[in-house]
Assembly symmetry: D5
Homo-oligomer: 119 residues x 10
């Protein structure tokens, strides 16, 4: 079950705004309709305000979706909401790319905050 | 025959604007001039207002063009019009990429609504 | 319905053995179990004995599978049998590559006659 | 000899602005200086006003350059001028990409009308 | 838990030897040492004797490894053994390609029976 | 019109057998059935006996097919025969790869002499 | 230990603003948490004011991180700060791309100064 | 020795602004520090005012750098200055991409004039 | 310093011969002549006799070369000798691919035992 | 002028046969007919007998062809002869790949000694 208590944070190493991108090509959850597993890539981009997310804790958080029945659109919005609430970043973007189902592949994009000038 | 009654919708999981993209690499219709089959890729991108299109119903709608005699430009505009009318999205874009005919390959792009800030 | 009467042939332009390969990336038939369309690429390789298959007639023969309900393995063996019977080539190979279904993509290979030395 | 009388047109299927792109990877003309053939790819992009160019007639028009002695820059401007004059589109762009000569490959880009918002 | 009772078979459509390849890019199991998920691609190639494996049942069999703690080398040999025992093919090959762990990616290859002449 | 008198040769620089490959990606001839141009890549590989073909003369020979109406299979066998007759090489192979027509692309392979050990 | 005294500079060869990009695909440092080596690519882009960094000295500076225990985010900000302090460029951007750890690959981007018009 | 007298020009075939790009992947000069050869790709883009540079003369001009000892940054600025002075174009951009030295590859970009609207 | 005591082994899970390949794209050692770091990819392929090498211990063994001054040819032969001595495999192959130095990239291949039939 | 006195050798680090490959993508010489520079990639593969060629000396030897007027076929045979004479390897292969001239690119392959079993 998705679990934000797995997330850990550390203080940003700079007061100058900068950007961080983490790409997880090994995401899997379960389709609530068919019960079959879904496979996707999660791209997280953000401009930290005060804290950064620790990489291994982020991996554990993503793994907590493994046996969760949840739609593409809901996964994407939940990750955006969870990370926006726990990190309060200046800007955050979550992109999920899903392998094809019935010949159709999908990408969902959700954002939080104003797009930074330097992106 | 293209049939919008095949389309099903579900409520958008978030009030915050976000983007959805579905790519169908297995689209086929028939050239009304030569009777030969055409093969293409349909890319649908939209920002939902109140509802999202259900993925399997979208696939069935695309399959309803299989034995329809229709030109590239008309397919693209019809899909844009059908989805805009049934979903009323904030923004919607349809891109069709067609395999080569006589050494020429083609792409048609149609849009509905204002381009979202976050695209 | 698959129809070998569509096939036309012309005399081989040389008595010296040589090889011919035709690749059709626009093959489609229908899954007899689910009724959903299948999409694949057909690769035909052969060493002609007395005749070669005419290209446009080969295309029409492949198109005659469009609305046929037939499994991957059966398509491949039928094309091998049809072309071996009508052309009597020294050697013939049919390879079918099918787009993914349920996350699994497939390739079937069938041959007729002895592999030529020069392949 | 380049011949615009080969071009045929059909009425645009929509009043909503949309974009069309045709890519011909099989263009050839002759260098007027050396007499050697030149090989290139022509990309045509436009937003139709009232009419669209018919695909097979466009192919015949491109083929009419086959034995014409003409420089890269002149080919590109002539295609732009010919199509702007016969179609009166809202916007039109012609890009020609030429295979290397003496280790140098080239691209020429010519436009007509204002760049559309939705490009 | 890996479960061969999920596998279903159908009669081979031809007495002439031919080859079948199924590639599953969405395989996941669990590392028995760390508890972290492993992700890989399973390639199955075989020459059927009397029966072929049905595609959807193969998918269900592969999914039965999802929460199993098992090493790369053991997964590969178990799939080889399970399929050889249930299908008795003339020849069978299982190749597993695993995403990197600690900067090292791995491939394991196991075979059953004599390599066919036509491979 | 294909013209072998354009070909020039020079003495092989070594008595030790070696291999030469020339790839011409800019070949064009005309389909004798439709009158439309065909575009292909010609790969010539050979082990010289006494002489090698001069590169610019080879280019002029290939260009002499430009406005010739001739089928794929005939082009390939004629180039094989012309070069075998004029160079008397130990071994020679001609491979022609043709761009798609009607969704089908083709490759024709013709050889002369015994395959060299070192190929 | 990172050492800016290794850096050498030379006078910019032009008063007209221009851009310089150096990409080092062979960067390695050490994870301070696990002690395992990290591998990345460093992209440095800048618009020089008065001086440019000498290429071999830049390489030596990058090598001085080889056995340093330091996080991704800190490496990126330190390089930005070191080069901004020693070169006083009009604009400078540092992008670090890190190979996957636990299935997640990362990119960090830090900038100094106003983005130039001509980028 | 770089020699602008090798450059020849011809009148622009159109009064409507258009863009020209020439890419030379076979540039070589010599490092003035080590005496070793440098290898790069030169991309020249410009919007002609009254004249265009003739392609073969441009090649000869680039070849005149072959045995010149000159740094990356100086090559790029000299080509920009030479071509701006002799052609007086509306806009001109020179990008040089250099193969790796000591594991670092480089790109230098210099411009002249205002960026055209249609780029 | 290269240290075989870091290597750990486990019993092969099958008596039927099978093949294992591990690819480490993050290998680094030091050039004994210049003192500069070398970067390479190590590919290890083997057919186990009684034991397999444990993946994390293999990674630690590879990391023990990090600050060792050693030539390409010597690294390759040492890894072959170390693993052949400690695992006594039926067959073993080590391939090292090194990033370019002075514009020349290198690959060294060393083997132990007879090439297996099924490779 | 090609100069074998630049070549240096070191004792092979192993009595067990192994293979070495060096790829130089930065080779240039001059066409003796036109005076224009030729650009190519030289691949050297060999199984050492007693000695290996030192990498930097090999680079200097390759650079000694820079301003030499020499045909593709002659370059390849000369490098084969020079290295066979100075190293006396068990086996040696030289492959030269030349960038296109007049739309034709070329590859020349020369060997010395018997092909090793393990290649």
């Amino acid at each position: 079950m998705p679990d934000t208590s797995l997330l850990e944070f550390f203080d940003s190493p700079s007061d100058t705004p900068f950007l961080i991108e983490h790409v997880n090509e090994e995401f899997t959850s379960v389709c609530p309709k068919t019960g079959h597993p879904d496979f996707g890539t999660i791209t997280l981009r953000y401009q930290p305000a005060a804290v950064c997310v620790e990489l291994k804790s982020l991996k554990m958080y993503f793994q907590s979706f493994r046996n969760e029945g949840i739609f593409y659109e809901a996964v994407t919005n939940q990750i955006r909401d969870d990370l926006a609430a726990t990190m309060s970043p200046d800007w955050l973007q979550v992109i999920t790319d899903w392998k094809g189902r019935g010949g159709i592949r999908s990408r969902i994009t959700a954002e939080h905050g104003d797009v930074p000038l330097h992106r």
